[in-house]
């Protein structure tokens, strides 16, 4: 069989398999029951505006607090990993490996229940402190590695030029290297922000007062109240409202970085 014909045949069979799959789904799925359970407009309407003004807002606030903390702490650990002082490098390595290996849910339980039990008191500013530390400390471990890679990706000539202008090593790091490193790592940094947006759904286990629920907890509560899965679908769409634009942004930035090189 000639090669072009074979390629065409294989491609044709792939399209046929896909078409068959769509057909099977369309015919076997009970559409009215899907609409009633997941896409009922009368169950979606009462979710507004609270799902946006309370739940989505809290998701964004928790994510932003955790991310701001993670960038600051991540930068410190990135610099420690690159430090000529050996104990600093050890400390940074231990921190990074610990938090990359610990499940977020376990860490949140530790902050919300383990620490108060051991000390006999809540963390100051609970639950916000637990939210910031809970989301921020593990994220800082990931960001530390990202930032370190970014710092190492800044061409050596930049440091050499800065030093030859009379800047000290630390001044060159702060004014020349770190700003360029952040420019390089904006795409992976944005990816981490997307991950954190979704991870914020776990903070509900810290305990939720009226008005502090984020999207997932809000969706679950409404699932219980309305006995219908539509709130979960709407909550999911709200996450996509945040994450998809961020994803598109990452793609554009990556394309621009690729062009610049």
């Amino acid at each position: 069989m000639p090669r072009t014909r074979r390629t065409r045949l294989i491609r044709g069979s792939q399209y046929a398999a896909f078409g068959l799959l769509v057909l099977v789904i369309a015919l076997t799925v009970d559409w009215p029951s899907i609409r009633d359970s997941y896409l009922d407009p009368s169950k979606a309407a009462p979710l507004f505006p609270a799902i946006l003004t309370v739940a989505l807002k809290n998701t964004l606030v928790y994510t932003a607090m955790g991310f701001a903390f993670a960038v600051m702490v991540g930068l410190i650990f990135a610099l420690m990993r690159l430090s000529p002082v050996t104990p600093y490098r050890w400390l940074a390595n231990i921190y990074i490996e610990f938090f990359r290996g610990i499940p977020l849910l376990l860490w949140l339980f530790f902050l919300g229940y383990g620490v108060p039990t051991a000390t006999g008191r809540q963390l100051p500013f609970a639950p916000y402190s637990a939210i910031v530390l809970g989301l921020g400390m593990p994220a800082a471990a990931y960001l530390a590695e990202t930032i370190r890679a970014g710092i190492q990706a800044v061409p050596r000539g930049q440091v050499e030029a800065a030093r030859s202008l009379g800047m000290s090593a630390s001044r060159a790091m702060v004014s020349i290297v770190i700003p360029q490193a952040f420019r390089i790592i904006i795409p992976p940094l944005t990816n981490e922000l997307i991950v954190l947006t979704k991870d914020s759904s776990l903070v509900a286990i810290l305990g939720v007062a009226a008005g502090t629920e984020e999207l997932t907890k809000f969706g679950r509560d409404q699932l219980n109240t309305l006995v219908n899965a539509t709130p979960l679908v709407v909550a999911g769409l709200c996450y996509l409202l945040v994450t998809v634009p961020l994803s598109l942004l990452v793609r554009r930035l990556e394309a621009r970085n690729a062009r610049a090189q």
């Binding site: 009462p46 039990t117 809540q122 007062a209 009226a210 509560d221 699932l223 219980n224």
Partner: protein, 269 residues
């Protein structure tokens, strides 16, 4: 050129100083005392509960309502403060942790008074008599745990119902644990489990909300009584006030009125 980095440094120092100031400044003046009762947050009676547990506490729109909520509102009114409800996992409530660490002043979570819990929580006088019950789908013919041999029975994490089933289940019955009441109910409704054990009043309310679908297969008379939880040894005055409020509500008919409002019948005594 040399001026700019230094100015930036000074700005950084100011920001750090401001952050430190806000961190230390806000800590003071949060807890408060009213009538000899210490409250973790001024002007507020903070209640820990685990939602949903209808009709004791559940969400109606954005508000948490229920029998427990109404009773604690009486206590808050007596103290002249507002009730704020925190929805938190039941493990933290029944272990006494949430009360001991000052997360809340009182726990109102349809909580049975047990000897084990008494070691870590100061309980109010009992405010409700409850028994455990097995909820099944209508017409399933299941009327005991033994009828579930080869099937699964659902329980809720950290509840007395779970302890009962763990102790009494026949060997052929698989126990599946659910994180909250709603997931347990959903599992039964969708046929993932053959029966679900939880407190009787909760099932009676559920049957009322979903007529025709479910029935109580059997009851397990465990002689359980609910109490409100308060920090062990930490707030004796609050225990006393809660007991006073409960006694007064029972004598002036408020308790009977609330009971009928949430359970659809008068209290037996």
């Amino acid at each position: 050129m040399t001026l700019r980095p230094r100015r930036r440094q000074r700005m950084l120092a100011t920001v750090i100083a401001l952050a430190a100031l806000t961190l230390t400044g806000c800590g003071a003046g949060r807890s408060a005392r009213v009538d000899g009762v210490s409250l973790v947050k001024g002007g507020t009676l903070t209640t820990c509960t685990h939602l949903p547990y209808a009709p004791f506490q559940f969400k109606q729109g954005a508000k948490v309502v229920g029998f427990d909520v109404d009773l604690i509102d009486l206590v808050a009114k007596r103290l002249g403060v507002r009730q704020e409800i925190i929805d938190t996992p039941f493990e933290g409530i029944k272990s006494g942790q949430d009360l001991g660490t000052g997360k809340c002043d009182i726990a109102a979570a349809g909580m049975t008074i047990t000897d084990k819990r008494k070691k870590v929580i100061a309980f109010s006088s009992p405010y409700f008599d409850a028994t455990q019950a097995l909820l099944v789908k209508k017409g399933s013919g299941i009327s005991s745990l033994a009828d579930l041999t080869g099937k699964s029975v659902g329980v809720e994490t950290a509840t007395t119902g779970k302890d009962y089933v763990d102790a009494k289940r026949p060997s052929g019955v698989k126990v599946i644990e659910f994180e909250d009441l709603a997931t347990e109910q959903q599992a039964l409704a969708t046929g993932q489990i053959g029966g679900a054990v939880n407190d009787l009043p909760v099932w009676l309310y559920y049957i009322k909300q979903h007529p025709g679908g479910f029935e109580v297969g059997t009851q397990f008379d465990t002689g359980e009584r609910y109490g409100f939880g308060i920090k062990k040894g930490g707030n004796p005055k609050l225990v006393q006030i809660v007991d006073d409020v409960l006694a007064k509500a029972k004598s002036d008919g408020t308790y009977a009125r609330l009971y009928e409002k949430w359970f659809g019948r008068k209290p037996s005594k």
